[in-house]
């Protein structure tokens, strides 16, 4: 999922054999990846075929019991569909909220661009946990939003904005926006004001010019941002746990519960592998889209 996929490099240069030096330079990151990613995943994979013995114990075995348990239980299947559905909705909302910001920054004069980018990315300096607590304060029954609306006389009963899906969606959208904005901007390379001007000179009204010219030219950024945010949304568990108030059940929160609370590690590992499979599917979809755009 590298950005390099978008480069207009002719196929010939892309297929050039990797130089020995370049291969040598890739070695450190390959080692780090092997230790930090491949080994743990392999471990998870192995564990998902182990047998849970209750009370946190597990026995080395090759059993499909965990997968069977997962597939047979409608609760788990619902977790999968809900996780995917909610993550898609969150991704879409994040896209809608971030697109104007990314476009604005892209069009800002050069001297403002870096400042605006820093401002957009600055929420990342505060941990997602802290920001989630912030949202709990803002969205709570006696929080900022309800307080303001009540004192303005708009509502008499507080709106239920936390401890439910609404809270999770609001929190995650905000938390994911910086990633989306950055991805969009990375993919805005081909966008140039003159394309819109050309469209308008040909009789396109601003909205039509946006739809027919701007959106297609920014699709690489949209695809990249959506992939990234979808993956992050599916795998996030702290924000759904806190803003969901234990009432929003998702794949990631369930993994946390199985691993930390119930101590059924093999089942947690099984669900982790399921999430990985979902990521794999997302990646395939992304690759398809990018190839289509090329």
């Amino acid at each position: 999922m590298t950005v390099a996929t978008f480069s207009d490099a002719p196929a010939a240069t892309r297929q050039r054999p990797v130089a020995p030096l370049a291969a040598a330079m890739l070695l450190p990151i390959a080692i780090v990846n092997a230790i930090g990613f491949l080994a743990p995943v392999a471990n998870l994979f192995r564990m998902s075929f182990n047998e849970a013995t209750g009370g946190g114990g597990l026995r080395e075995a090759v059993t499909f019991a965990n997968y069977l348990a997962f597939v047979m239980d409608p609760f788990y299947l619902e977790l999968v569909t809900r996780s995917i559905g909610m993550s898609l909705a969150i991704t879409l909302l994040t896209l809608v909220a971030s697109y104007p910001i990314a476009l604005f920054i892209h069009r800002a004069p050069a001297q403002w661009k870096s400042l605006l980018t820093i401002v957009t990315v600055s929420p990342l300096l505060v941990s997602a946990v802290v920001r989630t607590y912030g949202w709990m304060l803002i969205l709570g029954d006696r929080g900022l939003v309800n307080g303001l609306l009540t004192s303005a006389g708009v509502i008499h009963e507080p709106l239920r904005l936390v401890n439910n899906t609404t809270g999770v969606v609001i929190g995650l959208v905000e938390i994911l926006m910086p990633y989306m904005v950055l991805s969009l901007m990375a993919g805005f390379g081909r966008l140039d004001r003159t394309y819109e001007e050309a469209a308008q000179s040909l009789g396109a009204m601003p909205w039509t010019a946006f739809r027919r010219v701007v959106v297609p030219l920014t699709l690489p950024g949209i695809a990249l941002g959506c992939l990234l945010c979808f993956v992050l949304a599916v795998s996030s568990f702290i924000t759904p746990k806190l803003l969901g108030g234990g009432r929003v059940f998702l794949l990631a929160t369930e993994i946390y519960d199985q691993a930390i609370v119930i101590l059924n590690w093999p089942l947690a590992a099984t669900m982790s592998i399921v999430i990985l499979a979902i990521f794999g599917l997302a990646l395939v979809a992304y690759t398809r889209v990018v190839r289509l755009l090329d």
Binding site: D8, R190, D192, T194, Y195, E197, A198, A199, Q200, S201, L202, G203, A204, M205, T208, R212, V213, P216, L217, L293
Partner: protein, 376 residues
């Protein structure tokens, strides 16, 4: 040779009456950016079917004028009328213009045919007609076979022609071109000049053409509007602009010229240091003026004294300080005292009669002695 110089008349400027009505009118058009005045009170009337060049050095406001006409930047003051309709406050998509950008701005995500069809789709032209008109437009620019290609699979010149087809297919009321040839190599540029002019004539479309290339302006256009620092300083046919530039700036910018500074001593006589030169028209006595003479209008005599002085010619003795061979012409730099003048002679087979260090005599008609009060 002598007689031809003496007999040379003032170039007659035929004020050939053009019966065509004005089609594009810019009235007191102005654009200010904070303190910068990009375009100042510009008046210009382009006749129906006329091809006018906006010519001037970088930063003189050509693009700004064109973009105001297209509606891409709002005018600070003034009026824009296209075909009798005041469009000053209309957005670009309601102005009925065809626009060709310097970088072509072809939509990279569409094929050539889709690019050309875009404007027709915006105009809700029926599907069946779109195909036909796109094919016609592509044939017009000799790219009939290229409809399915992507813009990036075309050469610069081909992209240029697609941009032209895309702008013309909508049959706009006026065509606006911003330096459309500046990204092409010299040979292709020459071809495209003829081609654009040819297409423009055939369609009879009123055209405003921005360029900083004087050769382009002279060779392609009916009339040239010369701009300097946001102002329109002269509007005239290529002949008028070249032969009777109204300012030293124009003489300098359009074509090449030799410059000498002097003072008017009496009507028709100018003192340039120790030299005395004649001109047909001079401002009041005592005025400081700049004299300008085109290099190829000067005759060079290898032997001083061979030309006889005459009231209708200027005669100067000088020494050749440099000779340059440029293929079709020889350039001689001749030191005449108050300055060095460049003279151009077509090359001929055989040895060149003049070499560096030679003393020579320069002679040119008073008619070719341009006198200006501005000294840029």
């Amino acid at each position: 040779m002598m007689t031809s110089l003496i007999d040379r008349d003032m170039p007659t400027i035929a004020p050939a009456h053009d019966p065509r009505p004005d089609h594009l009118v810019l009235e007191g058009l102005e654009k200010r950016y904070d303190k910068v005045v990009a375009v100042a009170a510009l008046d210009l009337a382009v006749r129906q079917g006329e091809f006018i060049a906006l010519l001037g050095p970088s930063g003189c406001g050509k693009t700004t004028t064109l973009r105001m006409t297209a509606g891409l930047v709002p005018a600070s003051a003034g009026r824009i009328v296209i075909g009798g309709r005041d469009v000053t406050h209309l957005p670009p998509y309601r102005r009925d213009i065809g626009l060709v950008f310097q970088n072509y701005a072809l939509f990279p995500h569409m094929t050539v045919a889709e690019n050309v069809a875009f404007g027709l789709e915006m105009r809700k032209v029926p599907k069946a007609d779109i195909g036909k008109r796109v094919a016609e437009a592509l044939a017009l620019v000799r790219l009939a076979q290229y409809g399915e290609r992507r813009p990036r699979e075309l050469s610069g010149g081909q992209q240029q022609r697609v941009a032209l087809a895309r702008a013309l297919v909508i049959r706009p009321s006026i065509l606006l071109l911003d330096e459309p040839l500046s990204n092409l190599d010299a040979k292709l540029r020459e071809e495209m000049r003829t081609e654009i002019r040819e297409i423009q004539r055939r369609l009879g479309i009123t055209t405003l053409f921005v360029t900083h290339d004087q050769v382009e302006a002279l060779s392609m256009c009916d009339r040239i509007a010369v701009m300097q620092a946001g102002e329109l300083v002269q509007l005239g046919t290529p002949f008028e602009i070249y032969e009777r530039p109204r300012r030293a700036f124009i003489a300098d910018f359009v074509g090449r010229s030799n410059k000498l500074d002097g003072i008017v001593r009496e009507a028709g006589v100018i003192e340039v240091g120790p030299l005395t030169l004649r001109a047909t028209e001079t401002p009041a006595r005592g005025t400081e003026v700049r004299i300008s003479v085109r290099p190829h209008r000067i005759h060079i005599h290898p032997h001083p004294g061979s030309a006889r002085p005459h009231a209708r010619t200027n005669l100067l003795v000088g020494r050749v300080v440099r000779t340059t061979y440029v293929g079709d012409v020889f350039q001689y730099d001749v030191d005449v005292g108050p300055g060095v003048m460049q003279v151009e002679k077509p090359t001929a087979a055989g040895p060149q009669p003049i070499s560096r260090g030679d003393e020579v005599e320069l002679e040119w008609s008073v008619v070719d002695t341009l006198v200006f009060e501005d000294r840029p």
